[in-house]
């Protein structure tokens, strides 16, 4: 059964090929069957692999499957090999499980779109690439999947390419992530030249043996990998592409730009954690990047009007939490938050998709309102997702994962009170903007009637994800609440435990109470501001400084403006100044002189035999002269 592992990425790729080659002939139903069915088969295989994997001996269960040698260049022989261990198993299950739900949802959501087959072919290609990314046993194959998901992200953001705004958003996402990808590629070159391998386990073993902690090489390698992770996971300073990526269809936002692809950076860092442990400054940078991003994005999310942009900034902010966890060495806490985040953020996006479709493609929350009674299933599931995102204590999955991160940040030797405080403020912001979204969308007065288009294929995934958004947290119960750390225990063979300072670990109970209170306080404040008539918030917004702050946050802290002025405009200006291309002059001159030479030579071709004879004579005289005089 374990040997079926290769089928998990292969089946979505097969689905992609079928849809690309025969998509037009399949019809709507056939497309949906192939598109959703291939993911369902892959998911079934992925779950069927779990029991035999758990039956493997030893605590550090590993199954590797080498399919073939990719290329052979001297000693450098990367393989197409898959590696299943606790970490990639969790990633694989989350990716396939969430994918199948979102595909089912999409089959209804995209109904009536002329690019139905195209949509599912891209989505299948994405799932296949993502599975290659998480299952790869070497960094080169991982990079292949990494680029594959980037390509699919670009294709799907610009899915409705007839509107130039969407196409531009796709291009922006592609170019901005490319900056990070380039850093990652250079990092791979560095590792391959210095360690002689890209096999992940081998390179980590060699790095630990050959590189001294804190020396220049591991710092360079880890910093370059971090560059790639920052680009893909939309962290500071490359976060600007994700809010614009919401131009794509909503299921795409749910799958790629919330649940799976954007967390690839988190996975990369967790996968190569030994390198980061060897480079403490870089690891600290990871934590700082995470903390700064979660605060910045949280503030921006507070001011957005577009429901999908709120969720986009929220995603950036939550991935900031994962980076914070990685930065303090709480590897499994980051993966735990990845898992719960995948569930509740996919749920929120899918719920938002239902709302948008019912509101006739309206994205502005303030045009919605009062949907609580019209869309009860969506409302309750959305509420559960929001509660999980806001980390409502005890009952939600988000509480357990975020609490673990906050606790580890506090108690880890690499963390500290300041990072913890950033996380706590971020938690307050999270519950504020989340319930602002809930109250504005579902409470208050009703602006327009829903279209009533959401069928069971759209509500079923919502319900399943809502259940997961609650129960997924119970796999890791902290010492104060049952003390059942199954999840971190399961990941322990792959990801080492946090290096905690014992004295700080005693504060767990107090920290949890603080986090719980902050979460509830955020909900209460947003109820005060947005629950009723919003008199307070309107009065608040009249103040000029509030207006300026709001505009600043709304524009994502002006990063777009900054990059536009620092990078885009100079390049555009230069391109304009050089529109007659200086370099082209050389080649134009070459073309001109050869054409002139041709003209001159063709003039000698008179067709008159006597002229040729004269030419031969003159040539002979010249050659003879040269021979005689030299």
């Amino acid at each position: 059964m374990l040997y079926w592992l290769w089928l998990v990425p292969a089946v979505p790729f097969a689905g992609f090929l079928i849809l690309v080659l025969a998509g037009r002939r399949l019809g709507r139903a056939g497309t949906a069957v192939v598109g959703v069915g291939s993911i369902a088969v892959a998911t079934a295989i992925a779950f069927a692999i779990v029991p035999p994997f758990l039956a493997l001996p030893g605590p550090d269960r590993v199954f590797t499957q080498t399919l073939w040698t990719w290329m052979r260049i001297g000693d450098f022989t990367p393989t197409v090999g898959l590696r299943l261990d606790a970490l990639s198993l969790v990633m694989m299950l989350v990716v396939t499980g969430v994918s199948v739900l979102i595909h089912l949802y999409s089959s209804a959501f995209m109904d009536g779109d002329e690019g139905y087959a195209r949509f599912f072919s891209y989505m299948n290609l994405f799932v296949g690439s993502m599975l290659v990314l998480v299952l790869a046993d070497n960094l080169l194959l991982l990079y292949l999947g990494w680029e594959g998901v980037g390509l699919c992200s670009y294709l799907l953001i610009g899915f409705w390419y007839r509107d130039p705004v969407n196409a531009n958003a796709g291009r922006k996402a592609f170019i901005v992530t490319r900056v990070g990808d380039t850093a990652l590629a250079i990092g791979l070159f560095l590792i391959a030249t210095h360690l002689g391998t890209l096999d992940i386990q081998l390179l980590m073993a060699r790095a630990a043996a050959a590189w001294a902690p804190g020396s220049a090489l591991p710092i360079a390698a880890a910093a370059l990998l971090l560059g790639g992770a920052v680009g893909k996971s939309a962290q500071l300073p490359l976060q600007t592409w994700l809010p614009d990526a919401m131009a794509g269809p909503t299921p795409v936002s749910a799958l790629i730009h919330a649940a799976t692809m954007v967390t690839a950076g988190v996975y990369l860092i967790a996968r190569t954690h030994v390198l980061f442990a060897l480079a403490p400054p870089v690891q600290f940078a990871v934590a700082v990047v995470g903390a700064a991003t979660l605060l910045l994005a949280g503030c921006s999310a507070l001011t957005q009007r577009d429901i999908k942009r709120v969720l986009a900034y929220s995603t950036i902010s939550q991935i900031g939490y994962m980076f914070l966890a990685l930065g303090v060495g709480a590897w499994s806490a980051a993966i735990f938050h990845f898992m719960t985040h995948a569930f509740f953020k996919a749920l929120l996006f899918l719920g938002a998709g239902v709302v948008i479709i019912e509101m006739h493609e309206e994205h502005d929350m303030f045009e919605m309102g009062g949907l609580r009674r019209d869309l009860p299933v969506t409302f309750w599931t959305f509420l559960i997702g929001s509660a999980s995102l806001a980390a409502v204590p005890l009952v939600t999955a988000g509480f357990y994962s975020k609490d673990l991160i906050l606790f580890d940040t506090w108690s880890s030797a690499a963390g500290g009170p300041w990072l913890w405080l950033a996380g706590l403020v971020g938690a307050l912001l999270t519950s504020l903007y989340t319930f602002r979204m809930v109250f504005v969308t579902f409470f208050g007065e009703r602006h327009r009637a829903p279209a009533g288009r959401a069928g069971w294929r759209m509500t079923l995934p919502l319900v399943v994800l809502a259940v997961l958004a609650i129960v997924a947290g119970f796999v890791e119960l902290p010492p104060t609440l049952g003390d059942k750390p199954y999840f971190t225990g399961f990941l322990l063979p792959v990801l080492p435990a946090v290096a905690a300072i014992p004295a700080r670990a005693l504060d767990l109970g107090r920290l949890q109470i603080a986090a719980g209170l902050v979460s509830l306080a955020g909900i209460y404040v947003s109820w005060l501001l947005y629950g009723g008539r919003r008199a307070t918030v309107t009065a608040l917004m009249r103040h000029p400084s509030a207006l300026v702050t709001r505009r600043f946050w709304f524009a994502g802290w002006g990063f777009d403006w900054l990059y536009d002025h620092v990078f885009v405009r100079p390049v555009v200006w230069f391109a304009f100044a050089d529109r007659h291309d200086v370099v082209d002059r050389i080649y134009d001159g070459l073309a001109w002189s050869s054409r002139a030479g041709w003209r001159a030579l063709s003039a000698t071709e008179t067709g008159r035999i006597r002229a040729y004879a004269a030419g031969v004579t003159i040539g002979a005289i010249i050659i003879t002269t040269i021979v005689i005089w030299t």
Binding site: T606, G607, R608, R610, A613, A614
Partner: protein, 102 residues
Amino acid sequence: MGAVPLAHGLVVAALLFGLGLLGVLVRRNLIFILLSIEVMLNAAGLAFVIAGARWGQADGQVMFLFILATAAAEVAVGLALALQFYRRLGSLDADAAAALRG
């Protein structure tokens, strides 16, 4: 039998060759061009014979026989071409055949 000095013989050959060449270049009639070529060939043959006489070798005369044979063949082909030329173009003006002008 007084030997002709090498230089004299070569000067005569060069003059002959020059006359032939001049004929090729200035005459437009194809027949005269062929005649001029014959003159040039004989100039070359004369140079061979003179050089052979100077060094007492038979090679010069052998080469002249070769040139005679070649010239005979050339005239045969050349006259046939001239005949065709006249049939096609209605004249023997060499400049009339300029269809390959570039």
